[in-house]
Every structure is written in C-alpha cells, then in structure tokens.
Symmetry: D2
Subunit: 407 residues, 4 copies
Amino acid sequence: MYSQRVKLSGHIIDSFTLPRTLDEIMDQGGDLEFEEMKVGKHKTDPSSAIIRITTEDEITLNRILDNIQEYGANILDEEEVVLKESQKDKTVPENFYSTTNYDTSIKFDGEWIPIENIEMDCVLTVDTENKKAMCKPLNNIKKGEKIVVGGQGVKVRPLERVRGKNIFEFMNSEASSEKPTQSIIHKVATQMLETKAKGGKVLVVGGPAVIHTGCSEVLASLIREGYVNKLYAGNALATHDIENALLGTSLGVNMDDGSLVVSGHKHHLMAINTINKAGSIKDAVEQGVLTKGIMYECVKNEVPYVLAGSIRDDGPLPDVITDSQIAQQKMREGLEDVDMVIMIATLLHSVATGNLMPARIKSVCVDMSPASVTKLSDRGSAQVISIVTDIGSFLPMLREELARLEE
Amino acid sequence: MYSQRVKLSGHIIDSFTLPRTLDEIMDQGGDLEFEEMKVGKHKTDPSSAIIRITTEDEITLNRILDNIQEYGANILDEEEVVLKESQKDKTVPENFYSTTNYDTSIKFDGEWIPIENIEMDCVLTVDTENKKAMCKPLNNIKKGEKIVVGGQGVKVRPLERVRGKNIFEFMNSEASSEKPTQSIIHKVATQMLETKAKGGKVLVVGGPAVIHTGCSEVLASLIREGYVNKLYAGNALATHDIENALLGTSLGVNMDDGSLVVSGHKHHLMAINTINKAGSIKDAVEQGVLTKGIMYECVKNEVPYVLAGSIRDDGPLPDVITDSQIAQQKMREGLEDVDMVIMIATLLHSVATGNLMPARIKSVCVDMSPASVTKLSDRGSAQVISIVTDIGSFLPMLREELARLEE
Amino acid sequence: MYSQRVKLSGHIIDSFTLPRTLDEIMDQGGDLEFEEMKVGKHKTDPSSAIIRITTEDEITLNRILDNIQEYGANILDEEEVVLKESQKDKTVPENFYSTTNYDTSIKFDGEWIPIENIEMDCVLTVDTENKKAMCKPLNNIKKGEKIVVGGQGVKVRPLERVRGKNIFEFMNSEASSEKPTQSIIHKVATQMLETKAKGGKVLVVGGPAVIHTGCSEVLASLIREGYVNKLYAGNALATHDIENALLGTSLGVNMDDGSLVVSGHKHHLMAINTINKAGSIKDAVEQGVLTKGIMYECVKNEVPYVLAGSIRDDGPLPDVITDSQIAQQKMREGLEDVDMVIMIATLLHSVATGNLMPARIKSVCVDMSPASVTKLSDRGSAQVISIVTDIGSFLPMLREELARLEE
Amino acid sequence: MYSQRVKLSGHIIDSFTLPRTLDEIMDQGGDLEFEEMKVGKHKTDPSSAIIRITTEDEITLNRILDNIQEYGANILDEEEVVLKESQKDKTVPENFYSTTNYDTSIKFDGEWIPIENIEMDCVLTVDTENKKAMCKPLNNIKKGEKIVVGGQGVKVRPLERVRGKNIFEFMNSEASSEKPTQSIIHKVATQMLETKAKGGKVLVVGGPAVIHTGCSEVLASLIREGYVNKLYAGNALATHDIENALLGTSLGVNMDDGSLVVSGHKHHLMAINTINKAGSIKDAVEQGVLTKGIMYECVKNEVPYVLAGSIRDDGPLPDVITDSQIAQQKMREGLEDVDMVIMIATLLHSVATGNLMPARIKSVCVDMSPASVTKLSDRGSAQVISIVTDIGSFLPMLREELARLEE
C-alpha cells in the first residue's frame, strides 16, 4: 500500500478546495483519513485539514497528488522537487510538471522558491546554481535545462474567493446578459479607479468592434485621461481606428449616422496605404497625418501597444508584429507590471492574453456573445469576470461612470 | 396557351418589385414580354412596367399570378374577386386567398375596397350587401361567410423603400451587434418624438429582461413622461416589476448591486401573493400597496396593457389573460391606433405582435441575441428594424437621448 | 444569542452540500462549531456532519436555516412544521415556505410525511385530518387551507451526484457544442432503453424545428416503435407535422430538397383548415385524411399528447388547449408517471415542463443554441442535461443508435 | 454636365445587377436614361441594358461608375485603364482601384487582359512590357510598379445566380439551424463527388472542434479515401489530432466516453513535446510514433497542409508557420488549383481563406454558431454557403452520405 499525507489550508471550504480534493481522491479509488480538521469559525479565520491518502499502487497515488495540487492540496512531508534534464531543445522529460496560472513555489535545496511570472501550460525549470526557478513555455526550453517532473515539491496556492468586500465578487458567476448593466459598470469603474489610485496599470485588449460600434473616441479619451495604460490588439482595431480618424468610417460605415459610404470598402486599405507612406503610426502622428483616435493617443501619451498579426490581416500596418511567437513574447513581457485587464470584443486576443496571465491579475472580459466569454473560461482563465453587453454602450457608460466617480 | 397582363408601378426597381417578379415568372417556366417600361429618372419619379405572361397551362399561370401579387404585381385587366362560401365554422374553401401584412384592396362590384386592419396569414371575407371587406383569422370564420379565393381582384401594395429622408432607412439591414450604438439610439429617439409630435401612439412589447437588467425605473419614467402609450407583456415582466417595486429584487437578484438576496427565490411568489391579496394590480395601486414601477405607472397614467399568459407562468397575476386566443384578440384590437412598436427582449410576445401588425407600423426589435431578432424577420415581419444590443444600456441611453433632443 | 444544531448527511462533500452550508452560515455572519464530522472513506460510504449555528438575532438564524435547507441541511432537533391558514383564495401567509423540486417531507404530528409530486416554486399545504401533505401552485390555494410557513419541520433531500456508474454523469456540466456528439447520443439512447426495460415512460417535449429540420418521420417512428410514450408541444409542431404529412412541406419549405414551394406560405393554414374540416386530429386520422407523421402516430399508438396554445399561434388546431393554466395543469398531471424527458428545440415548452418536474426525472434538453439550454438551468432546472447540437442530425443519429443497441 | 454610357449584360435582372445599378445612380443624385433594354424571355436567355448616366459634376460621376462596376456595370465606351506609378514600397497612388473577388479583366493597349488569381481587397498592377496584369496585396507592391487607378478600363463579372440546376442554389440564403439537415448534407456530398469526378481539388479548412467533437477519425478517413485533397488549419487542430492519436483525448477529454482524463490538461503539451522530439509531424510518422489521425493521413497520402500560427498557440508544433504573412502567402498559393472549400468550425481560418479566394470557388462554411457563418459573409465572402449544424454529426453524416452515393 502506498500512502502520503497532504495539507490543505486557507479558505479551503468556501473556496471548494476541500471538497474537490476529497472528490478527486475518491474518484481515483483512493482511501482517505482525516488526521486533523480545523474549521475557522469566523469570516476571517482560515481552516486547515491534514489528510492521509492511501492507494494500492504508486501510479494512482501520484495521479491523485498531481491533480489535487491544482486545488491547493500540498504534500505535507516536504520533499524536494525532482529535476530532470532536457535532452533536446523545445523538449522536456515525459513526466514534466505542467503549470497552472496560480501562485506557485517549489522546494529546492531546503527552501521554498517562488516562481515569478507564472503562466498556465508552461513548464518549470530550475537554475540550480543561482537557486532560481522559472516558468517557461515548452518551445523556449533549451537542451540541458533542468525541468521539474512530477508534482513533488511543488506548492500551488489557488485564488481564494474573498468574502464580502471584493467589488468583483458577485459577478464571478456565469455569463449572462440578464444582469443589471449599470450596477456592473459601476463595479468595473470602481476597480479601475482603485487600480489607478495604487499606481497600478490597466491593460485594454480590444477588437475592431470597438471601432465599428462607434467607440473609437471613447477609448481614445480613456487613454488620454490615464485610465488605460497599455493596449493589446490586432491589425484590425488599429486599421479601423485610423480609418475612422482619417475618413470618419469603420469598414466603410459612416460612424455619425451608420450609413454606408461610397467606395467605403476600400477605406481600410486607404488607411494602411497612408500609414505605409508615413512609415509607421508614430511617424504619421509626428508628421501631423494622424491627429486623433486610439492609436494617436497611444503615441501621444506613450502608452505602449502590441499589435499582433493574424492570417486574416489586410496590409498589415507596419507596426504589426507578424510573427505570432514574437508577438506572444512581447505580450508576455508586457503583462509583468499589469494589475487589471479589460478585454473587449476579441476572442483571439483575449484568449491569447488570458493564457499568458497569472490568475492574480484582475480581469474583465466584455463581449456581446455569451459563447465568447464562456470560451475564455473554458480555456482555463476561470478567474476572468464575464460581462455580456453591447460594446457600443459599455464604453460610453464606463466613461460616464468614471467621470461621475471622480467628481 | 394561357396569358395574362400584369402591371407594376411605384418604385419597382429599387424596391426589387420588378426583378422579383421577372424571377418568379422564369422560375415557373413562364414566358414574358415587356409591353411597356417607364423608368423614373429622378428620385421622386415612380416607374412602371406592363408585362404579358404566357404559360402552357392554367395552373402555372395562376401560380405565377398568385405569387407575384405578393411583390406588388397586379393583374392589369381588372377582374373582380371570386368569392366562395365557407361550409363550416373555422374553415374556408381550399383555394382561399392568404393575406400579407401589406396594404391590400379588393375589386368588388366595380370598386376597389381597401381592407382595414390587414394582418398576415389571415383570409379575406366580403360583406356583399354592405360592400365591406374584412381580414379575419381562420378560426374566426363562420359558416356562410363569403371568402376570397385565388388572387384575382386582389391588389397588394408592398412597402416601398424610401430613399434618403427616412431615418430608419440605414438600419433596415441585417441584425448585427457591430453597428454604431449611439447613432442607432438617436434614430429610435427621433422616431419616437416624431410619432409623439403627430399625436401617434407608441407601444412597448417587453420581456422580463427589462427588469433583470435594472431598467424597471427607466421604462416606468418613459411611461410617466408620455413616450410610451401602451404595453404588451407577459406575467413575468409584470411580476418582476412588482417584485422590484416591493422588494428591490428581480428573480431574487438585488437590483442595486447585483447580489443574490437571501430567500430571493421566493420573492416573485411574494409579489404575486401580494397582488392576489389586493385583488388586482389596479387595486394594489389604489390601496397604496404598489407605489412605483412600470405597472404602477401604467395604472396611474391610464396606459392600457395586455398581459398574456403562458404555460411557464407562476401564479399568474390576476390581470393576466390566460387564454391565448382572447389575449391575441385584445392585442389585435389594441394595435389599431398604434403608430410605432418597440419590442424589447421577448421573442414570444414580439413574434406574436409582429404577426398581428400591418407592415405600415414603424417597428423596432431590440434584443441581445441576433438569433431572436432574425427569427422575427424570418416569421414574415420583414419590415421590423433589428437592434442587437444590451437592454440594460439601451433603455437608459434612449431616455437620455430623448431628454437631450427635447431640450 | 440564538442557536440551532443542523445535520447534513449523504454525499455531503462531493455534492457540495457541506461547503455551501458553511459558506452560507459565514456569509450571514453566523458562528459555527462542528460537533461531529464523519467522512466516508470509500466511494459508497456516506458522510455526515452535525453543526451548531449561533447568531446574534433570531431573524438571521431563521434566514440561515431557511437557506441551508435547500442544500439539504436539516434542523436536527426535529420540530414540527408550523401551519397557518390562508385568509383568501390564491393567497398564503407572508412567511410561506416555497418549494424546491427535490424530494421533500414534513414533520407533522410526530411523523415524517413525504410530499408527492413535488414541484418548484409552489407551497405546501397540510390536510391535518388525514395527515396528508400536498404541493400546490399558489393560485390553486383555497381560503382556509393550512399552509406551511418557515422552514421548520421541512426536510429536503437534494439529488446526490452519483459517482462512476451513472451514464449521465459526465454530461452534467455546462452546455457546449464542443463535445463528442456520437458518444453523447450513445448515452441518451442507453438511458432510453434502460427506462423502457423498466417499463418506464419517456416524454418528448418538442418545438417546430423538429419538423423544419426534416425529422418528422424520425420522431414518428420513435413513437411507433414505443420509444416515446408521451408528447408535449405547441400548435406549431402539430401544424407543421400535419403540413408535412399532407403537403410535404414545413413552413412552405420542401422537406425533400429544402426548396421553397410555390404558395408555401399558406400551407400551414391549409393544414389547419383541413383539420378544422375533419373536426380534430383524431377525426382526421379516422377519416383517412391524415395518414402519417408524428400526430398520426400519437393517435394510432394511443400516445397521449398535450398541445398548449400561445399568443403567436395561427389557427390554432382544434386539439390545442388555449388556456395556459388548463394546459399547465394537464402537463403537471401527465408528468406523474414519467421517468425520462427529452426536450427538443423549444424554450417555452421546455422551461414550462422543467418548472413542473420533480428533480428525480432524468431529463435531457437538446437545442442548437447554448443560450436556450443555459436558460433552462438558470430557471432552476439544474438537473437537466444540456446537449447543444443540431436537431436535424440528433434525432436520426439517436434512432440509429437505438436500433444498433437493440440488435 | 458629365455623362457616360454603361452596359449591363448577363442575367442582370434576377442577379439584381440592374436594380442595384439603378439604385446606386439615383442614390448619388445622378440622372439616367435607358438607351436599350433587352429582356431574355427564357431561362437561358441573357438580358442586356445600355444606360446613360448624367451628373452635375465629375466626382459624382466617377463615384457612381466606381460603385456600379462592382455590380457588373461596365463603361461602354471602352477606354483603357489608367496607370500610375507607386512612389514607395507597400504604397499605391491615392485613387487606387481596389479589387473584388469576381472575375476581372482590364483593357490595356487595346486588349482585354484577364486577371489571374483574383482576390478581394487587393490592387491591380500591370507589367506594361509583357502586357500582363496581376492582383497583389498592398504590402507586396514595390516602388515603381504601375498601379491601376480609378475604375476606367476595368471590367468585373459578378457571379450569376444560376437557375434550377445548381445543387447549391437553394442553400444560398441566410444561415439558419432550422433547415432540413439530411437534405443539405446530401447536396454537399454530391458537390464533392462532382468535384472529384472532374479531377478537381477539395480543401478543408478546420478548427479544433473537429477533434473535440470526436471527428478526428472521420476527417482522417475522408483524406485517406481521397475526398479531401488539402488542409488548412492552425496549431490547435493538429495538436489535438495528435493528442487524440497518441493519448485518446482532446483537450484532456476522453473521446470514447466524454469523461475528463486524469492529468488530461497537459496532454496537448505532451503531444507537442513528442513531435518536438521527433523533429516534425512527418518525422513522427516516419519514425512510427504517429500512426493515425488527420495529420498522419495527410503525410501518408501526400495531402498538403498549411498550419498557420496564432498568438494563442501553445508550442507550437514545429510544422506551424508562425509568421502570419508567410502563412497567408502559402494559403494564397495553395488556393490556385482548388475547386471546392469546406470550412469547418474555425472563424479565423475561414475568414482568412475567404479573403484569399476568388468567388468562383464553391465554398461551404459549417459552424454551430450562426454568428460565425454570418461574419464570413459580412466580410465580403458572400458566395459562401452557410450551414449551421453540429460538427460532431455533420462529418459522420457526410461520410455516410458519400459512401451511399458511391455505391
């Protein structure tokens, strides 16, 4: 018989850490015994439990330990991580440890080393000399790196559901369009102001619907006024924003009255052509060619942006990073100092950003389609708050609410 | 060979009357010859065409004539309608004429008699003594009534697409969430004010999402201020509006902050219980039990409402008409003096109202789901303008725009 | 200080009974102490816990007890239910107990009396003389009936998540179209055969899309072969089924090749006209007018059906029950001997049926739209399995799978 | 006054070429006069019209000519194209001609030169020495190239709606899930067999839902049996196909019974790791590591594939082209000999492929979400047939239908 003790601590009951752990053990056919169970009697008291797991074979035991670690159950008898060398670039040993996006640390050489910039679906490597542990995407692994295998010596601390005070709390449920819109916008605005007050950074990840729904100027003003400090988008948002700035249309639709404009179908190409002539978006701003809009404000206010290319791009604009791995790496690096993310109307860029983000970043996903926001949670970014609403009204109402709260 | 001349007139080209007619003739294997074709050279000039249709058999000819009449092609040699008696209540002769929702008149006894209150999927009956023609649902037909059969002697005038001036024009395209929201709301508000200025009536058809999204007070104020003059809804809208007025929740969700309220799942039953105790909604208002909200404003401002029951109702409230045929008839009668309809977040009531409406009524359907608004057009109410947006922001933004325009 | 002991038993950990209970207590600001906690070590062992709840005031204590009862936490010191008389037809005392759809019993006169035909959002009344307890919709209450108030003396047993064996288990998660379709259909077929083998009854609740997607004959054959034993639908399913049987079309679309048929827009009226002439669907079958299709097979095989009317009906057919409350009552009664429900492509009828059903009935909801199946769970019918798929392929594949399994 | 004569010919009435042209002229405030109008009396007879357009200023005239050319109205007095040199790489003169995806030719040096590989949203350049005209994306333009400006000398022939015979005809309408599924699948199968019989090539563009819905083996068999001759996809389809081949799961879900597999969340990384170790997909096949599935069959049957990278990729696999512009160019080249495209469950790759395709290619887009297929048409690929159905049943039913037809 194989056996191991694990400890759960924190808000293990209302965060479902405990029940999920017990569930997993029983699903795998393991036996369990409570050696200790302390339930916090008050809101602020954490609980803890020590459970002995017993199985008939080692494989099952390891499976269980591997899986319950994700819920925050950590092996009690603090053994060290097991490391194995990579035999070839971009490859890892079979039994590699695959990361979650929760705070993670490893026990190495007698110490708990926290992982910086944790990201899901990556692997952990250890610089044994400098006692540093890193989270890396598979394809960044070099031959000879020391890779964490199995779950031993890895401690994961899932996000705890905070009670009461958290303004985001109530929304952390399923996507639905049948919720009080104004009340939700109030909460997002409050969180933005809180982040700003702390000197934190807000990233907007946006799709072209921001422009199509007539909100180019609104997002531009949020950038100008310092509410938005970074921008991730694709060629389409930038192109239609510039089309709107230069020609007053988005995909050829007049933004003032929604009418189709003559020859409007080539307006986006005209926008790209203009920027190509200038050299880059920044050049166009400096030459006085581009004088308003989202991209203009980014340049003027030194708000960094990553424009990631895709196979459906026309052009693309010279500022677009066409290699998806380079763009991903830029996005990854840019996330390091971000405290809040607002994803608007783009499934591709939202899922991409969600994949790269540690769970600690407050994030909101706004889309018209419940399917889109659901997809984001399905892909593992469970901590993202979903708001199903019309972009064309969300952004103006958000700006108004911010102004109201700032008064 | 069988032959018949038809005449098309009006804006037959840009309204697609002409091409659809030619298309139909050719699809049925008929031959055609242009006897006359006048194309209006200016915007305001109508065009006209006289076409001779020839087929090999009479059935095909009749089929063609039957179908192209819907597009507005009328038989030139003005023959009279053919009438046949109903042999039994709720039944009509096999070859009955089935109505569209466009302006229709019939030639009887040498005169063109217009049909009042035209409605799609009905039959035409003629009171031969008083020379009156009526549009009736199948199940209202009594044995002995004289029913119009075939398409002969029936003239249909489809809605023409008005150029330029019509504020609704641009929106008359497919449902999409990627349109400039603020510009669309401006147009709806303008049309409402225009209707009000002419002394016309605006009907709102609403679903419970109006309340769930926190807009009870907004719609209540539109009623109070005279922008909304009638209301069609179901038990759910009324119940949750009253729940909100009495308890501050909708389906147990606190409308101030979106949180779930303790025991909230029984709030809607408490609302119904309260009204049942009072006797009716009106009684509850008069007894001072119900003091705000949509239903309260309807009672206070003598805005008529039809609450139609359905099989999913809890309760229902005493004011709900549980028989669907009686409710349908009330809705039909109520539409007679309506000039504009705004349908909000209810597929069932919107389709029902759409079915009963003549095409001349300006109508707008607002829903979060493109599928819902599309379904409405698929069911024959093609003239309805579709707006895909969040109810929770549409109503507040509409009220603001109305206020802005009234200044 | 106010205090009460509650007991939880069964699979309280993996069914989330325990954590939800603790959560609720803490959310309300109550204190708690574990007096006993037994965790079953093996899959089949139930667990139990006795918890003492302490609050500062009686209202909070009652709130907590009221809410945690829904999760299956029952007051330990078994007090009797409190009864209060209704003062007026269709009304109940303020503090009435509102039902869930889980197995429920009440303690009255020293005994636990189970409630038959439990249904959510109803009230409990007790026939004190005969010691019988009933679940009734609010509007069926008569003045003088004795109504259960508060949660005292009421015991609720939520459905437990069964481990391993249950064929439905894995699907009991969120609606998604990205699941292995063939594997899901296999499970539904297996459950149908199991139900049939036990002599149980399968109810189909269907919308007109069954016909529009070309599956009239498939559902007809399932009825003929005894796989489907009851049918709930509206006027539309029956009308289009009959249209299809008589004229080969559904809403005027040719079911053989999907083409639009000439004059097809009036086919559904022709179908209703034909049945009106015959007298009823049954009469039409007996007169040899209706010779195939779903409704034909219902008549021939004595499969009972409820056709519930709605305000969007044309006609309706003479067999349609136009009063929604009468239809609801028929549906309620018909559910008493049903063991499995398959809801197909109808939000209205599915939600209505879901509202009337005890949680114990195995139920499956099949729809193309994730929003529709989600709506069903949101409305409280959480135990319903959601399948997001195309009706037009679901039914043929289900029939094939049934045939394959029967071999 | 400015004036120009245009000629329309072909099926100008039922293809809406004529009415759209007249509409445009009038919308722009132009005057028009019919100089000639011949209407084909029989199905097979084309019609023609010569129209003189008069405007008050040259700009309006050019606008009109520019726009109606898209509908197929060509300037009668056959002037030559106007060419202007590009002043800088990736830029074109302001008044550049922007392409449609319809058959296009230009008049140069007295001759009509057809454009090969026409593609929408590109520009036309002329090699004046060799009298060759090419369609190029903006960013491929080199300084000094001669660019077509304005619409003069450009002739566009839109797709004509073919009457009767075309098996695709009926489906060419709006996306809806309420259509006879089996009949639609029959038509797609017939078109595939027709293409195969002519020696044509069928391209499948697929997303990962093909694997998630359990259809890996089905698509693999269609490749093996020669029904599918090319594949465009992303990293996800290939990764999950390989995950399925190696481990029997897709995103960690067991494809046999839909259950979640232990440690399944890292299966896709294990799949990528395995291929990285082998070197490439082809290497993995040759080394006997990968022995079944879609990618395996592509390698074995020499079916070319393009795997285009995106920013949300894990890995990616070594075969993935991470630069979106290089991938786009590969896709463009691969389309040259393709006759039919089936797009399955991928918005990104479908829109990308749609953008690159001439309108002549028969194409079908299959998706569960009506919004996705609608988006494709909105982006200009109007000729694509939309099928809203469940992937998990579409592919098995398609294979069965192909087998049935081949018998």
